[in-house]
Every structure is written in structure tokens, then in C-alpha cells.
Symmetry: D3
Subunit: 328 residues, 6 copies
């Protein structure tokens, strides 16, 4: 970065470790701050160093305990603006309410838009996210939203495994377009599952599978998993259809202990995921491989501060970056 004195990176409660990794990559010290959770549930935030005219990057993932993280985020933005920061860029590695992006039933809220309005009302100047659930969410914001992609990093790791006879499997039709991006990057075929989500309780059912998986090693790809349910169901069908090993790869993983146990018992050999959600449980399972995207966000910060183009980052990911993501 050309001028490190102009920048300050702060962590919200849910992303302290993530910010540590970003700052380690950029070789700077995280901003000092204090958060206090009162007994009855409300939150107090305080910036503990001067941010006047600084470009502030504030990182808060909205995953587990989504509402606490979200409200804390709003307070931080307000605190930075009232402390005369020059700009406040909000980094949200996982944005839980991105899934709530439409009025698919009568008389429901479009919760992702409500969140976008609050973030802008609080005073954010820019937002950075990764692998957004639907691209239209950028349009819920008036302020610039930069959307990063994890697939080059994830596919880079897959390449390093040199799995023979690989096919990419999309667990449903909605993700097929993205799955093809993975397949094209890895130069392997795509297989598409066709399931239907019955209600909002997240239960779903695999219906059909388009493409051949017999004697192939299958890699199911998706943007997020809550319970591993979809992945495990797909893995069972893949096995039934003659697949060899079944891998799964998702950007955002919110697995709880129950999910972990089911993953252990499942046909899935390995679940590759990232650290966008601060989920201590995932370290408990040997089936899970975590690749950090913190260096990717760090690069994004560097590019923005250097006034360079973010989109060109993905044309040629620096080797160092890929290495950092695996090692940090």
C-alpha cells in the first residue's frame, strides 16, 4: 500500500481473528476498540484511537448471532462517522440476510433491503462482500458494493489435490450457473441436481440429476451451508449413481455441532470451506479443510487504497496471495 498512515482497520466482535489475519497480511496494526455486551443484551462500542480523516475499514461478519453482529455493525459505523473518519468501508465476509432478497410469499419483508437501508442510513460509504447469494443485492445499495469471488482460491486448492476424473456437481438448478464457473476454471464437466425447496424451514429434496457421475470423483459446490443437509443428500444420490469419492466445497459454512456429526457420518470425504464465518465448531472435524479468504480481502483493501482496479485482481491472482490463503 502506498500510504499506510491513511488507513485504519477495525474488527467487530464477530471478526477479531479475521482482522488479525488481514492486518498480518498487510503488515499493519489493527485499530484499537472496545465492545461491551450488557447483561440485558444491548451493546456498547468505543473507538480507542484517533480516526479523524482516516479511511476506516470495519470488518464484521453477520453469521452466527446475526442480529447482535448486525446491530453492533450499525453502531460502529455511526461511531466512526461521528468521529470524523474520512470514509467508512464495511467488510462483511458473510451477510446472513442476503438470502432474504425477495418477496417470494405475500406479506413478508425483503430483509436484505432493510439491512442495506440501515447500513447506508448509519453512514457507510462502501461495502465489500464475497460470493453474494444473489448478484441483485448490490442493487439494494446506493453506495458501491464490491463483490469478491472465492472460486479461484478454492479451485486453486482443488487443483493442488490433483483429483482424477473429477466432475463438478451443482446441488440445485439455482447454483448451476456458478457451478459451471468452477467447472470451467478446472476444465472438468458439470452435473446438475434438480431439487426443490418446499418451505422456508430449509428442508429440501433431491429430485433428479443431469449428467453422468459413474466412476467419477464428484465435487459438490455451493455458496453456503447451514446444516450440510443439501450436501449430504446430494452425496447419497451421487454414491447411488456410482460416484467414487464425493467432496463438497462451500464458501460460507455455518455448521453447528449437529451438522458436524452428520457430516462425520456422511458419504462426504472432505468439506472445503473458508473462514468467512467465525465458527469455532468447524475446527472439531477432521473432514473440514479451511482456506482463509482474509488475504483476499487484504488485497482488496490494498487495491482500493492504491486507487487501482479491483476487477483486474481476479484476472491474475498473485501467487503470494494464494499461498497466504492456504497458510495464514
Amino acid at each position: 500500500m502506498d500510504d499506510k498512515s491513511q488507513i485504519k482497520i477495525f474488527a467487530g466482535s464477530s471478526s477479531i481473528d479475521f482482522v488479525r489475519k488481514i492486518c498480518q497480511y498487510l503488515n499493519i496494526v489493527p485499530g484499537k476498540s472496545e465492545t461491551f455486551h450488557f447483561q440485558e443484551g444491548n451493546i456498547y462500542v468505543k473507538i480507542q484511537e484517533n480516526v479523524r480523516e482516516k479511511d476506516v475499514y470495519f470488518v464484521q461478519t453477520i453469521g452466527i448471532d446475526a442480529n447482535d453482529s448486525f446491530v453492533e455493525l450499525l453502531f460502529w459505523i455511526d461511531a466512526f462517522k461521528r468521529s470524523s473518519a474520512n470514509s467508512v468501508t464495511v467488510i462483511i465476509p458473510y451477510f446472513s440476510y442476503a438470502k432474504a432478497d425477495k418477496k417470494d410469499e405475500p406479506r413478508v419483508s425483503i430483509r436484505a433491503r432493510v439491512c442495506a437501508d440501515c447500513i447506508e442510513a448509519a453512514g457507510a460509504d462502501r461495502v465489500i462482500m464475497i460470493d453474494l447469494h444473489s448478484p441483485q443485492i448490490q442493487g439494494f445499495f446506493k453506495k458501491p458494493v464490491d463483490n469478491l469471488y472465492a472460486y479461484p482460491l478454492l479451485c486453486g486448492y482443488i487443483k493442488s489435490l490433483a483429483i482424477p476424473d473429477l466432475v463438478i456437481v451443482s446441488p440445485d438448478i439455482g447454483f448451476a450457473k456458478n457451478a459451471r464457473k468452477y467447472a470451467s476454471y478446472l476444465n472438468v464437466p458439470t452435473v446438475i441436481c434438480d431439487k426443490e425447496r418446499k418451505d422456508h424451514s430449509e428442508k429440501a429434496e433431491v429430485i433428479e440429476m443431469f449428467g453422468d457421475v459413474r466412476n467419477k470423483n464428484a465435487l459438490i459446490v455451493d455458496d453456503f451451508t447451514l446444516t450440510c443437509g443439501t450436501l449430504i443428500d446430494a452425496a447419497r444420490v451421487l454414491k447411488m449413481k456410482g460416484a467414487n469419492n464425493v467432496y463438497a466445497m462451500v464458501t460460507h459454512s455455518l455448521l453447528n455441532e449437529k451438522g458436524l456429526k452428520e457430516l462425520e457420518r456422511s458419504h462426504i470425504t472432505k468439506l472445503i470451506t473458508t473462514d468467512t464465518v467465525s465458527n469455532p465448531a468447524v475446527h472439531l472435524s477432521k473432514k473440514i479443510k479451511i482456506i482463509s479468504v482474509a488475504p483476499l480481502f487484504a488485497e482488496a483493501v490494498k487495491i482500493i487504497q492504491n486507487k487501482e482496479s479491483l476487477s483486474s485482481l481476479f484476472d491474475h491472482l498473485p501467487e503470494d496471495l494464494i499461498k497466504s490463503c492456504l497458510e495464514i
Copy 2:
């Protein structure tokens, strides 16, 4: 109410019982709705009946699990507006972040203003609260905020107890003005404690006491209590200064089990409070007397729908209303 068909009252997760009481008082049926808490922490809301062109009153206290209640509130407002309600009046019996109304340290957020902005951005047309922590909070909103008062109900109850030689005690200087309102209503003297809050951890210390309490029965009054700490400290000093029985009376009570135990062990004979916070723990203590303010909010709704003056309600509280508050 002149026309009940025009109105719908809905409950958020934290105020289901409170809405039941409001509707019982008004003799109408609560609006049908569904709330779903996903495993990872985010919330889904759905209105289950037509609200087109209705005047919607939505009740959600923001007390225990404040952030969940607050975010849910925003989603409900959005859902009502997108469902073409004519107006959305938000009733917030307890508003946890009202205390966070100033920048009393460098580089903190004015959280009550952040909340006000979000509530207005989501689309609320009016807000009703009771015994606001500071009157300036009305000015954080552009939309009308009606602030109700519990003291006539609470004092009505005290009168019915016919306690001899009563003095009203303000636990600190900040509440002295309000304490005098209670004293004037009950026509008894006021005594003022002078404590200082040392930091935001809510610990405080009684310093001095202005006024005579020897052989008097003391009633400490305050707007809210989290741990009963301030009340118990004041009670101890009152006893030291020769007071007979010590009562305490607060509008909003967020006592947890630890607080309840300390209350049981304390010099306080009885704690009189209301049901603004949905706190199942308070029923566990025999020292606690709860007076419902739901009928008061119900009267406010009736007055608003009848296009009458809300301020005149407090000139002469109807006898029926007072009775309902004690019995409902």
C-alpha cells in the same frame, strides 16, 4: 373505538402476552402472524392476514435479547409497509437503547439515534413509548413520538396501600425532577440521593442523602433497574439513616435471576414494577408486584383511532383503566 374494522394490532416475539392484554382490553382479536428463528440466528417474519389500508399497531419491547427484538421490529415494519398498510404505529413498551442518548465519551455512537433512524428508514409512521429515559429522545425522531407516563397508575397503587409517613426517594440527582412528580402526586416529601456513576459497567455508589428519613417509610422511585444494585444500595443507606420500611418502584424491570436473589436478600420490602419488559423471572419472587400498563397503551390506541387528544388522558385517568391495570 369508533371503528374497529380499520385497526389491526400485531405482536412481535417479545410482546405476545402484552398484545394479548391490549386486545383483551379493546375486545378485539390480535393480528395473525408468524415468526421463525433460524438455527444460525436470523429471523423471518410473515403477516398472515390482509392489512391493506389498515392502521397497524405493532408492539415489540426491546429489552432482553435487545438486538433480536430490534432487528425483528425493523423487518415487521418493512413487511407492513410493503403489504400496503395505511399506517404503522410502533409501540415499544421498553426501548433498551434509550439510555444511549449522548456522546458522553469521545468516539462512541449515539445508539438511540441510530435506532431511531433505522425505525424511520424501515417506514414507521409513529412511535409510542412510556417513561422514556430522557425526553430528548423524542427529538431523535422526525415522526411523532407519544410518550406515556406510568406514574399515575403506580401512584394509584401506592395510594391503595395507605402507607403511613411515606417519603419518596430519588436514587440519584438525575431522577430528582421525576421523583418530585411522584411526591407531588402523593402529596408527600422528597428525599434525594446523590450518587455518581463511575463507568459504563453500571456500578454506582451512593454518596449523600438530602432530606430526612428517620422513622419514615421510604419509596425509592426510578425509571428502570437492571440488577437492583442502585435500589439495594439506596435501601441500605436508608435503613442506616433510620428509615422504617423501604419500598422500590420502577417502570421497567430487567432483573435476571442473580438480581432476584439479591433483591430477596435486601432491605427492600417490595418492588413495584410494570410489565413493559417480558421477563418471566420476575414472577419467581414474592417481593415483586407487577402492575400492567397494557391497558394504558390500549387506551392510547383508542384515543389515537378516535382522533382525540392523548395528553388529556393523563388529566383524568378513567377509573376502569386503573382497575384493569391491576387486574388484567
Copy 3:
């Protein structure tokens, strides 16, 4: 409608005939207005009757000459608001920029959001559309957006044709979820094509087909067609795969003369579409069957004015409505 005196329906330049049909169905007279296109390209609008405190419904499709229609729409909204209309509901049967709902390349505009912001800045109170290209577009608006569905009417017509051995064909993966809605309504199987759009020049290529069409009659369904290119390509593949007759059905049809000629020459037996776009060319082809959705919008207006639920309309479409759509 309970009270016709409260309502006024006006037509923009691009929807004069559509409004005539709506008003015929509702048995009211369209609002009087004047539009003038100056030689150099700018537009003048004038309301020619009193609209003070009326509920105005203004209809303007944004299809052919999209920008003229869009800018005219903004001027009309402003004129109604400055003339003290009580509310302005904008009916946009086809919204051309709905397709531009994401930043799928670096440094492009999210044009649908820009349009939504302008419509709201001009003062619209509500928007009604039909078969929106993506459901997230409702979230680009803060004001209520009611999205109607044409499939019950279109499927009703298909049922009346009693085509044997019918399969529904989705021309690409993106529309598969919707196609299944048609199939489920008609109780027939679904076949999914998997094409990829290469660039924004609207050329695409069919890649694969999931499902069996041999000796079946195929009905390709989609939300809109500009050139019939996708439909004709799919029809050719369907024929190659052994399909009998191939029908196509789209809600919005913007076919120009070149498209019409290609349709005539193609494997498509019949194109069923609606009148959301005012396209005089479509009457030139015998292969095209038009079903009016004006009565559906008229019903929506009636429901809104009667303060009833719009979502329940689709549970049981009135018989009269279906008949009107075929005959008007």
C-alpha cells in the same frame, strides 16, 4: 369497486389501448390527458381534469422506445403529485430495464435500480407489474411493488386447447423454476434446456437438454422474447430430439418485423403471448395468439381500491376474468 368516484385511471402514450381495456372491464371512463412530443424529442404532459385527492392509477408500459416511455412516466407522476392526487399507483405492464438488475461485469450501472430511484423520486406511491424478470427487483423499491402472474391465464388457455402428451420446456436453467410452476399447474412433465448467454448482445446457444421429448408436444415457456431467437433455437433442437408440435408461450413479446419473419419460417407452431407490450407488429402474424392481461390489472385495481388482499386473487381466478382476458 365500492366507490368509483375516488379513482382515476390514466394512460401514458404507450398504453392507451391497454387502459381502454382496463376501463372497459371496470366500466369507468379513462382520465383525460394530453401528451405532446416536440420535434426535437422532448415531451410535454398535461392532465385535463381535476385529480385533487383522487387515487390515480397511471399505466405506462416501458417496452419499445423504452426511454421515451420512461421519461414520460416520470413527468406524469410529477404532474399528478403537483396536482394534489391522493396517491399515484404506477402500472408498468412491461418494464424493459428489469433485465438490468445486477453488476454482472465491472463498471456497469444497475439500471433497474436507477429507474426505481427515479420513479420514487418523482413521487410514485405504489407500483404494479407482472412477471418481473427477477423477484429481487421488488427490493429495488422502498414503496410497495405488487407483482402479478400471467401463468394461470396462459395455462388456462393451454388447457382449453387440450394438447395431448404435453411437456413444458424451459429454454434455459435460469427459467427452470418458473417452468416447473407452469408444468405443475398443467400437471405435465418439465424438460430443461441448458444454454449459456455469451455476451450482452443477446446471442445465446443451446447446449444440452434434460428430459425426454420424443413424440411429445412441447411448450417452451419464458418471460419475454425480443427476437424469438432463443425460442426458435430451442424449437429446432426439440424437433431434432423427436418432438411433435412445438409451441412457445411468453408473457412479454417485443418482436420486430425481422423476428416475425423468422417466427413464420420456424418450427414453432404457435406463439402465445400477452398484450403487455404495445406492439402493432404482432397482429401481422397468424402464428401469434394474444391473451389480454388488462382484465387482470383491472381486477388488481379493484382489489386495491376495495382494500382486499391481492395475493388471494391468484388462489381462485374468477371465471369472468379468464373469459374477459380471452375476449377483450
Copy 4:
């Protein structure tokens, strides 16, 4: 300019040649971009180089095909803001809707305000125009609007012609104040015509003429002409009243072919105008002399980037600038 690396100048579809001239004057390369007009009429825009933290100047005249140009302008502004430009200054050499600046009849739109609101909603930070139809239009914007003046350039050209016995003629009372500015600059008398515009169809009628034109050479001045109708009518009356040669000079010329033919047949010897409207037709007539104002806008850009005062530019126009305007 002190720092050319900080600035980027982009052209909209209607001002490509104008931007070429601005950039030639400033010796910089125009920004790379792509515009695509779809068959059905909608528009796609894409910035083709990095603009992060740049000061963007976007030029789009809104003249012929006004609505296409205006909507494209909105999309560009959005694209620049979402691409994190530091500021977006919109240069509108001719703003067609400036004439629509009042509610001179009941129930019409104030279209210039609608346009201003949309331009600001899309995110513009500043606007630069020239010879605005009415000065109040600056007040329709909250953002700074810099209004340039063409008369020093135009009068400079007139001076170089050394026309003897010259009088300046205002074609109506509304322009008299401006006409006197021209006359004062050239140090010649003013004559005022007094016509009345009967309706919005732009037909008007000369009524009277205040001042003597016998044996004088007359120069009619106005801000814009659509059909030359007003100018030709005035010229006829001037001839009747004994004027020698009649010249006309307008800043904005939107003449179509019919107007050009009538100009050729008229009493007007020469029409002096500028290149604010991209009108290829004007080159067809030998009676038309075009003076470029692109160098004037280029100077304005330079002054703004150098943080100097724009108003002082008109105190002493640089000689080089005047020369460039005649030669570019």
C-alpha cells in the same frame, strides 16, 4: 492543469465529438467506454477503464432524442459512482428540458425539476451548463451548478466581422435583458420585439418593435432555436422596417432539415451558433457559422481541477481560448 492523472473525461453517445474537442484542448485522452442500444430501445453502458478515486467529467448533451440522452446520462452517473469515482461532474452543453421550468398551466409537470432530481438521485456531484434558459434552474439543484456564458465568444466573432451600423435585436421581451448584455459588450444599441407565445406548440407572433432599425444592420440574438421560426419572423419585420442585412445568433441550435430549408429561403444572411447540440444537419447550410464552445468547457474543467475561481474566467477570456473556439 496541475495534475492530469487525477482527471478522466468521458463522452455520452450524444457528445462524442464535443469531448474529442475538449480533450484536444486539454491535451488528454478521452476515457474509454462502451454504449449499446438494444433493438427494443433500451441502453447499456460500460466504463472500460479504472476510475477509482478519479474526478470524472461526463459530457452528454440533451438535445435531439432528448430522452435517450437523458436516461443514458443517469446510467452513466450510476456506473461512475458504483465504480468508486471520487466525484462525477456532469457537463450538459444543451439541456432540452430547461425550458420546462414552471407550472404555467394547471396540472402540468415541472419537468426541469424532475430531471434535476433524477440527476442528483443518480449521484452527480456537480453540473456545468451554458446559457441556461432561466437562471432559476440552478435552484432546482442542491448540488453546485456552474453556468457558463457564450456571449463573449459569440460577440468576439461579431467584432471580428466589423459590421457597420449594427443593432442588437431581442426577438421578444423575455430575452431583452440578455440582449442588452450583448449590446453593451459590442457597444451598440438594442431593439426589442414584443411577441406573444400563444400555446405550447411553439408558434408565436411578432406584435411590435421598440427601437429604430432603418438602414441598420440587425443582429437578432436568442438562447436557442428549434425551427428558426421566431428568427425568420423577426427578420421579415426588420426588413419591412427598413433594416439592411439581418444576422441571427443563438447559442443552441436544434434545426432540422425543414428548418434549414426555411433558413435558406429567409431574409437571414447568416446564422451564428455553437456546437452545444450535436446536429449533423447544420453543416449542410452555408448560411450557418459554428463557433465551438468546447474549449470554454475545457477551460472550466481546468479551472475546477486547479481549484480556481470560475467566475473570474469571464472577466478576461484568454486570447488562446477565443482562437481555439473559432478553429477547433
Copy 5:
């Protein structure tokens, strides 16, 4: 009015008498309110009766002591909105800052736009004014602005005087268009003066006069006068050019004592004006005839409450109204 119970008319400090006349015409009682001016200059306002869901009309002229009146107006709007009025229509008989509608010099404020923004920010729903200085000011507001016209009333009075050989005189070119409206209504010729305002100190100088006044009775018309300077100057020139009697007629009169003395000494026989400005001084001169426009505003209120067309009022002013304006 169909329903008087729905409406409340309140007076600001500067329009107490004006509101008395409006209410007398409408046969209703003015709203009760209290205004208090503190010694140091700030203002306190209090509504003294229930306005919940009422349509409030608040009248405050902004003339003498313009800033006190303007700030008081903002506080009243806020008070009405916070008291849950259904709508707040602001009637501003004279709006002092309307003259400040453009940036006619570098680095000045467009004060009329600032005022418009503040009035809208405070919460006004509609504005009614009369004889606005420039029609573009309506475009400074987003909310509807109804502009009334005094000329039919004023000309009605002139007709009743039956002055022979009358000519209408416009004191400058800027008012010529309006002067012709008066002349056309009275069916007499127009004469136009051509003066130039030299600076913002309001001094001006008559230069020329277009039209014949010899042996005619002249009626100078204008929208407002501060010092009578322009009118007196024009009267002197008219006398020099052979005019008989010279009358003057302006809608808004802000004459101070010095102006009154100069009027007394001048060639002006009579100054006809209205009561839009609360100016006790004007009653001191016998040369001044005041015609009330309060009944005109009262009619406007009636029309708005009856949801009728305001523009049609001026097609045929009711006889009663004209009579009231002369007698009230």
C-alpha cells in the same frame, strides 16, 4: 365547505388579522395557539387544541421582520406534525425571499431554495402563495405549491372606478408579460418602461418608455413595492410624457414611513394594494386603498377541502368573493 370539523386554521404572529378575515369568510373559529417571544430573540410556539388527524392550514406572511416570521413558521410546522395533524398546508401571503431565486452573481446563496428546503424538511405538505415573484419558485418545492392570482380582484376594483382613457404601465421589461395580463383583462393598451437595476441596493433608473401616454390616465402595475421608488420614478416620467392621472397598483406592499411620505409627495394619485403584508403603516396614508385577498385564500381552502379544482376558480370568480374582498 362540506365538512368543517375536519379543518383547523391557525395564525402565525404576522397574520393574526388575516386569519381572522379568512375564518370570518368561512364562518369558522380560528385555531387556538400561543406564541412567546423571549427577551433574547428566540420564539416559543404552542398549539392549544387537539389537531390529531385534522387538516391544518397555517397562515404566516413573511414580510416585515422576515426572519422571525420564517423561523416561527418552521417551528409551527414541526409542532403540527408532532401533534399528528393529518396534513399541514402552509399559506404564505407574502414570501419575502421569493425575490432571491437565482445566482445572479458569483458565490451567493439561492435563498428561496434554502427556504423551500427548510419548509419541506420541517414537514409541510402543501404551500399556497399569491402572485409569486417568479413562477419557477414552484419548482423549488417538491410538494404541491398553489399560486393564486390577485389581478382579477384588483382589476375588478379598477373597473368599478371607470377611469377613462386608461393605459396599463409596466415599470420594467421583466413585468411586461404580467402587465399585459392586466391590460387584456381591462381591455386597454399597455405601455412598457425599460429600466435597469444597477445593484442589489434596490435603486433603479427608468431609461425608456415604449407606448403613448399623452392625455391618458396611467395605471402602473407591479408585484411588490418596498419604497415606492420605482413607482414614483415611473410616475414622474409618465407626467413628463403628458399623462393625466397616474395610479399605481401592487399586490404586496412593504412601505415604511419614509416610503409613505414620499408617496404622499409624489405624482401618484392613488396606490391600490392588498393586505398580504401585515403593515400597520399603510393605513396612515389616504392615498392608499387596500383590497383584502383573505377571502380569495378562504375560497382556496374551501376548494381544497371540497377536493375541487383550484385553477377553475379563476375562470369565474364568484361575485360574493369579489364583494367580500372589498368589504371585509
Copy 6:
């Protein structure tokens, strides 16, 4: 200051002398500007030098003639923004309407919020004030509000007087918290008066006094005084209770001549105050000692321009600053 060329400090009509002192301290020249008060009461403002991309500090106290000062302030902000200033920081040494911060009666305006909204609507980027009447007023603004404190300067002066046996007296309970801050700084005891304000006419009555003053020198502290009434009343009681000398110290003094006379006649030995209000009357009394806070604001400007922390200023006030405040 690191870079003085980037900054411009301008004075409004009410703070010309105050700005002279600020600029003297910073060793820069005040910005050139012109203000004109028209006879009828409205105000014209003009910036007389280039401010393009400058950081403008505009100083206007809102004390005597509060409304004139406030409206002028809005026009200045607009003028600076339309002149392309980079930022506009508004310094309001005394903000008269800060006292109007709540709805303490039914149907009044929250005037401080109205003012805050207007200041932000006009375009201010930051506000600096001193000793705000209530800290919640910062929350009425969305933009950063920096609140300075006068007590270190004032107490510094008191220290230099070396008054023996000093007690700090709070004139009412509301100011007790602040009074203790003074006492703690001077390391002396606090005495609290307990009065009640009966209505908004500013009359109040001392009721009781907590603490011992016999044979002590008393220093009454408050934030502002209009008439000295409260201070004189308290002084009388202090004398009755046996106090020796009685001093008074307030930040903001709006004393008129009547107040000055009463001060002269009163028990108060000396009134120490600052120059936040431009009050020429205060120089007439020998009992008044004025300490300038202009250097404090100058330091704040310097800190802001140097991007340093403002809160740390009060940890160790520079010696030079204290000296300047006494001497300037």
C-alpha cells in the same frame, strides 16, 4: 496548522469580532464577505473570494436576534456549498435554541431538532459548539458535532484568583452533575440548590440548599444566563445562609441593560463569563469579567485541520492557549 492555504474562516454578522480573535490566534486573514440587511428585514449574503475546494469554517453565534442570525447562517452554508467548498464546518459559539430540546408540554415543537435539520439540509458537514445545554443535542444531528468545554479555562481563571474557603454552588439540580465537574477540577466542595421552574416565562424559585456555605466564599456556576435572575436569587439565599463573597460564572451571557442594572444592585461580587455571545452591553458593568473562548475554538480548528484528536485537547490545555484566552 500544517497547511494554512487549505483553510478559510468566515464570520457571520453576529461573530465578526470573535472571528477576528480566532484568526489573530491562528495568524491568518479572515475570509472576505458581504452581508446586507434589507429595509424590510431580509438578508443577502455574498462570499467575496474563491473558496473552491477549501475547508471553510463559518462562525455565527445564535444569541441576540436569534432568528436573524440563524437564517443568515443557513444562507451562508448554501452559498459555500454552491461555491464548491470542500467542506463547511459551522462554529456556533452560542446556540440559543439548544434549550428547546424536548416536548415537555403537549403540542410544542422540538425547536433544536428543527434547527439541526435545517442546518443539515443547507449542507453543513460538521458543527462545533461549546457547553451545549444538553448532551443529547449532538444526537439531533447526523453530522459530527464537536462539543468543547469552557470549564478548564474558567476554572484556570478562578485558580489564579486564589479565593479562600471556596464552594461551588449549582443553582439547580439539573446542573449539579456539571457543577461537580467544576468542583472536582478546583478540588473544593459542591453545594446544590433545588429550585423549580414554574412555566416557560423563565421565572423560577429557589426552594432548598444541600450543603454548608457558612463563612465560605461561594461560586455559583451555570451554563447560561438571560437576566441574572436565577444567579441573583441564589446569591441572596447564600448570603442569608451565611456565605461571605458570592461569585457567579456562566459560559453564555445574554444580559440586557435591565439585567445589568440588577446585577449591579445584587449580592454578586463578580460575574465571570465568556465571549460566546456578542453582547456589547456586558462591557458596561465593572462586575463582569470576560474570558475569551475564541482561542479555544482556534485550537479546535487547528486540531481538525491537522487531523488530530479533539478530545485529547482537554487532557492538557496548552499554557499558551490559557494565556491567550485571558489576554486576547
